[in-house]
């Protein structure tokens, strides 16, 4: 019994160590999210509650302007949902590794998964560096350190931001953080075409009620990206002239 417990604790600690190199990024991201929440217009206690419960920087930043504009609840939640859709793919990818765990534990590990921790887990899996046993404890260690770092820095940002004058324009850091988040994924043609279509449609439909322009834009972009992706998969037509 104690040997088993000791082994699990060792796996947990190994996970905590494995995430250390990317904690700097998680801390920066948390800090910016926190600052943007308050500068965007949320009251401090509610911003802290949002950070603790939602724990998804990109969805929080995406929902923020809608909350401040007083958009209907379903629009805000749907926006958060779409921004979080990538996690559906992540959870499908993680499933085989935790299939023998009880559902409660799978749910807990899933909720604390983020872009950082998922990427780290999959990289260790591909390089064969996951522990043979106690993967759940290892991943729990990874997620614990990531969660603590993000929350401490987000709450620091929330509290500190309330002492900064509004005319510094700090709320724009939220938009810039999203630019930095999206930028690297624009290198593929489907992502780029989807983003361009989404942006143009969102601009054209901007004055629709309930902030629905955002949805029209996102939907049009997803369709454009999916079509571009399927055209790319098709074998190229026989060349009529050599380039």
């Amino acid at each position: 019994m104690t040997a088993v417990a000791a082994e699990r604790r060792a796996a947990f600690r190994a996970g905590q160590r494995a995430i250390v190199p990317s904690l700097f990024g998680a801390g920066a991201w948390g800090l910016v999210s926190g600052v943007a929440m308050v500068k965007g217009g949320l009251a401090v206690p509610w911003a802290i509650m949002m950070s603790l419960l939602v724990y998804a920087g990109s969805a929080q930043l995406a929902a923020l302007p809608l909350i401040v504009a007083g958009a209907p609840l379903w629009v805000i939640v749907a926006t958060g949902l779409v921004t979080n859709l990538r996690f559906v793919i992540y959870s499908a990818a993680l499933r085989p590794y935790f299939v023998e765990q009880p559902a409660r534990k799978r749910a807990a590990l899933g909720f604390f998964m983020t872009d950082f921790t998922f990427t780290l887990f999959m990289r260790h899996a591909q390089e064969g560096k996951l522990p043979g046993r106690n993967r759940d404890a290892w991943f729990a260690g990874v997620c614990t350190n990531n969660w603590m770092t993000w929350q401490v820095s987000a709450i620091t940002g929330i509290v500190a931001a309330s002492y900064v004058p509004t005319d510094w324009g700090l709320e724009f850091t939220g938009t810039l953080a999203l630019v930095a988040l999206v930028g690297p994924s624009l290198v593929t043609r489907p992502a780029l075409s989807g983003a361009v279509v989404a942006a143009v449609v969102a601009l054209l439909a901007y004055h629709l009620p309930f902030k629905l322009g955002l949805f029209c834009g996102a939907l049009a972009g997803i369709v454009a990206a999916t079509l571009t992706d399927s055209w790319q998969q098709r074998p190229p037509p026989a060349p009529t002239e050599s380039a």
Partner: protein, 113 residues
């Protein structure tokens, strides 16, 4: 600036967003093997965040002012700030660098242009 947003309505929004995190992150971990993603759905899910964020970011940069009018001027401070972040992103993934460059360019443009 208006009063900070707070209150029960915001609490409901927060719970809703928390559910959106929970449902997406735990979806396949809970639902098990019966669910399978078709290729097309997986592709759509993969591009959904990029498209949503583009639909948020671009109007935020280009539409502002009291009447939210389209500002395509090259001297638009938000455009300058976002462009600076984008340029920095081309050679470094460091988020602090991105934000510092973008905020510096935005602030300078806002104050002096």
């Amino acid at each position: 600036m208006n009063d900070p947003v707070s209150g029960i309505a915001l609490g409901v929004v927060i719970v809703g967003l928390a559910l959106s995190t929970f449902v997406t992150r735990t979806s396949f971990l809970i639902a098990g093997a019966r669910l399978r993603l078709s290729h097309r759905v997986e592709v759509a899910l993969r591009y959904a965040p990029v498209c949503t964020l583009a639909a948020i970011i671009v109007p935020d940069i280009l539409m502002h002012g009291p009447n939210a009018t389209l500002d395509l001027a090259l001297l638009n401070p938000r455009l300058i700030g976002a462009a600076a972040t984008g340029l920095w992103l081309c050679w470094s993934r460091n988020i602090f660098g991105c934000l510092a460059t973008g905020m510096a360019a935005y602030s300078v443009a806002r104050l002096y242009l």
